[in-house]
Symmetry: C2
Subunit: 216 residues, 2 copies
């Protein structure tokens, strides 16, 4: 069966032929954090259903955007991860997420929230123009979840890993980060109330804040 295609001699049309179907881009978004198991993706994409997830994974694998990797024993589980071509989509996804952030208010009780989404949200807040002064590796802990933030030139990469010897280590929780993201809680208040703690190179903090559009 010939897959449905826009059939246009255009880069965008080709990209959307591969990635434009429902759930595909959100699936890739979750993989930006690093390799994920089927169950991880299922939990991170409420509503997708197992059949559709299977389909999308196959499509994206065929498109060369993700790979299926079987981890060696004793882990012996299979994970999905971005290929180099898939990783190139990071700035595009971040750009689109950045655009969407402006239309995201306070969360409604219908909306799904997770530490992963908040970590990715931080990635989308990133301002390349303010980034030069903040190059380095940072650790972020949201509840029990650990993330590693790499800032290098005008680029950012947030992944779900621990970081060795980060310049700054940030510890906070979901609700605090939601407040900061939606503007109902200032960074200063969060620091003052001990809801967000910072350890490491204190002098890097102002630059970090401005990189994420936050005032101290």
């Amino acid at each position: 069966m010939a897959k449905r295609s826009y059939n246009q001699y255009c880069g965008l049309a080709v990209a959307l032929d591969l990635l434009g179907e429902r759930w595909s881009l959100l699936l890739l978004r979750n993989l930006l954090l690093g390799p994920q198991r089927f169950k991880d993706l299922l939990d991170g994409l409420p509503g997708i259903g197992t059949g559709l997830l299977t389909d999308r994974l196959k499509q994206l694998e065929t498109a060369g955007v993700i790979t299926r990797v079987t981890l060696p024993p004793p882990a012996a589980s299979t994970v999905y991860q971005l290929t180099a071509d898939g990783e190139e989509l990071r700035p595009v996804l971040v750009g689109l997420a950045h655009w969407g952030l402006a239309r995201l208010g306070e969360p409604t009780d219908q909306q799904f929230i997770s530490p992963d989404l908040l970590a990715l949200g931080l990635q989308a807040r990133f301002d390349p123009d303010a980034a030069r002064a903040a190059n380095g590796v940072y650790a972020l802990h949201i509840g029990e979840h650990a993330y590693r933030v790499d800032i290098d030139g005008g680029n950012i990469r947030v992944r779900a890993t621990t970081s060795e010897s980060p310049r700054v280590s940030i510890v906070t929780d979901t609700s605090t980060l939601v407040g900061i993201n939606s503007g109902t809680l200032s960074l200063a208040d969060a620091l003052g109330a001990g809801k967000l703690t910072v350890t490491g190179e204190a002098e890097a903090v102002p630059a970090l804040a401005s990189v994420f559009g936050l005032s101290l």
Copy 2:
């Protein structure tokens, strides 16, 4: 009727709630060139059908991404154009198109091609890092169609308008540009064969070529 939504507290999910349905991003792509009539969009998006086009236009208007404008007499036609919020999507669309360009070979006879798509394709080839030396306004003529290319810092804007006093004026046709885009025809050969002519500041040409990833 509650519209179908991903219901996630995430900028990308919100963006895709608004723009992620079939045809929406391609429709915006066509509006990047400037205001378009219903018929223009219908012709530029083969396969969409009038009902779906109407739906998409309404959705995007509700989302605040486009506006419906009734031109004053004697033109007295209605056109659709991007709002400022919609215009902000240009770099995102260009980024995605750039990613897709790598997967675009020579055109098949199934694929729709038009001067508009080729002008947009040129926009997607743009390399911001090489752009500093090529700031300015350029005129591009593909057959009977005139485009204006604005390069400013790391940004490019291609629109379907004539340009006054461009630095360089380029005249070519569809098949020549297809050849150059797909790599089967070198810029030098096209120039030599008179299939592509350049007038204006000749010294700006090498910079221009490198901005679009072409060798002279």
